[in-house]
Symmetry: C2
């Protein structure tokens, strides 16, 4: 884990007014270094060797997500995946999931909220709040 990720992680956590504990810093640094969205299980595996309780990992991930440092991605395999909130993904954005290797990546921000809202009509009396868009297909490795 390059030192830049660790110090960046610590700075982000302190900026939120939270305690910069080992767990938080290491987990966020790991996510900063990762370009794709990864699961709780995958993080746990990468962390093995270092002391880290399952529950703590759940709580740290929730804490980071609550403060908008990362975001949770729902998927059809019913496992949450986590990804850092880079500037490009600050707004609503779509996700891509490979149907072969289950890799999940964030797609660039698309002004799809408004556009897609117009593509379809909600039943009378329904109110629009947000849109969730997942593209399924094959990633470059699995094509």
């Amino acid at each position: 884990m390059p030192n830049t990720y660790v110090s960046a992680a610590e700075a982000m956590i302190r900026k939120e007014g939270g305690r910069a504990t080992d767990s938080r810093v290491r987990i966020l640094a790991l996510l900063l270094a990762e370009d794709q969205a990864i699961t709780h299980r995958e993080i746990e595996t990468r962390m093995s060797g270092q002391q880290l309780d399952r529950v703590t990992l759940y709580r740290v991930l929730q804490w980071l997500a609550d403060r908008g440092l990362i975001h949770k991605i729902s998927s059809d395999d019913h496992v949450w995946r986590f990804h850092v909130n880079h500037a490009a993904y600050a707004h609503q954005h779509a996700h891509f999931k490979c149907t072969n290797c289950a890799k999940v990546v964030c797609l660039e921000d698309l002004a799809s909220g408004r556009q897609s809202e117009r593509l379809l009509t909600l039943p009378a009396g329904y109110r629009f709040q947000a849109i969730e868009l997942t593209i399924k297909g094959l990633c470059a490795k699995c094509v």
Copy 2:
């Protein structure tokens, strides 16, 4: 459960070449009578009183989904919901989920596959297969 749903369910099952067992017929009839997508748990509750094992329900739902009589809807609460495949929903279609009461309904078929595909660009080498679109908001009751 009106008789028409039961006989319709039985006909659909036989058409697929499967055995028209009590469980299959009753479950499919229940889904035919339901306008919104419901969970395994909700079906189990509605079936209580009648002999029906949890595992059988899971297997029947999978069997119906495999043959395209119903479809499974993934959601951010990580619970599958099931809905009959009416003609209007035969193609790719979006879903609506109420953020208050968790009600899920299928939205009309929208030619969003091609349109949305054009809205965003996949990374180089990626292949498009399908799109999943969920609108979140408030249903008429929860507005």
